[in-house]
């Protein structure tokens, strides 16, 4: 196991490369999902407000 983590002496290059990959991919996923749910919430709210004003007329 320690042998695996040592990566044949290249640990300081291999692990940061995988770490930065994970961080960037996960950030891309999280940010994309967040902006989607935010946009969907906004549209729903605007549509509800719109139909509410229709009814009061």
């Amino acid at each position: 196991m320690a042998n695996f983590f040592a990566m044949g002496g290249y640990a300081v290059f291999v692990w940061p490369a995988y770490a930065v990959t994970f961080v960037v991919l996960i950030a891309a996923i999280v940010l994309s999902i967040q902006s989607y749910t935010q946009a969907r919430r906004n549209v729903r709210q605007l549509e509800e407000e719109g139909s509410a004003t229709e009814e009061t007329r």
Partner: protein, 241 residues
């Protein structure tokens, strides 16, 4: 025709809601297998030792940077010529993903270059510099969208930039042949077939396909977001009027 049918954002939203869970599932499965295989089931390279593990995260990222840009330039052309409403949405939504993958290619490449070439960066290397220029083109493209308020004008200006910037794509691909560089020549997309051993090629291809499905999933999600944001904007304007 299929493309004209999809020009209707409603129909696109329905279709992408059906397709995107599949792209997500395929991305998760392929990346799960790909990361496991790359890290635990590949042998060390006879010259590079275990540093070759970086290849499995570097090559797919670099591939995505170019693939996404080509798609973006194609969509921009369609947007300019046919005024296809979804083309601009697709190009705009793809850009931040392309920038992220290009940044990853540069970072992982740098971490691979230090042990193999003795340097993190080399300004004289055409592959490295043309890849950095690609990142700047992506960032310029995103900045241009943000700088112009009117979406129609922004789409046009950004599309022109995307098409001009497309000149960098062949330069990146052929840089390793045109100039004598540190970066090795192509070992997968070359005449006469790949020169890379199967023990590396199979997990590498799984990673590339996994990255591609991850991109497709996020692209669909971001396009849906963009359409919703446009709808919110028009609702706001209608209320203001």
């Amino acid at each position: 025709m299929m493309i004209t049918a999809l020009a209707n954002p409603k129909r696109f939203l329905d279709l992408s809601r059906t397709v995107s869970p599949w792209t997500c599932a395929l991305a998760v499965i392929l990346l799960g297998i790909g990361f496991y295989w790359s890290l635990f089931a590949t042998p060390p390279d006879y010259q590079q030792g275990q540093s070759v593990k970086i290849m499995f995260v570097h090559v797919p990222a670099a591939w995505m940077g170019i693939f996404i840009y080509s798609m973006m330039a194609g969509a921009s052309l369609v947007g300019l010529v046919f005024r296809h409403p979804l083309a601009d949405v697709a190009a705009k939504s793809a850009a931040p993903l392309g920038a992220a993958f290009t940044a990853l290619a540069l970072l992982t490449g740098s971490l691979w270059g230090r042990p193999m070439w003795g340097t993190y960066w080399q300004w004289g290397d055409a592959r490295l510099v043309s890849e950095l220029i690609l990142l700047f083109i992506y960032l310029g493209y995103i900045a241009l969208w943000n700088a112009i308020d009117d979406p129609v004008r922004a789409a046009k200006a950004a599309a022109v930039l995307a098409l001009v910037g497309a000149a960098d794509v062949p330069v990146i691909h052929f840089s390793v042949d045109w100039w004598n560089t540190l970066h090795q020549p192509a070992s997968i997309l070359r005449l006469g077939g790949p020169t890379i051993d199967k023990a590396f090629l199979v997990p590498l291809l799984i990673m590339i396909v996994g990255y591609t499905f991850l991109f497709l999933w996020l692209l669909l999600l971001r396009m849906q977001t963009e359409i919703l944001e446009r709808r919110a904007r028009s609702l706001m304007m209608a209320r203001g009027a």
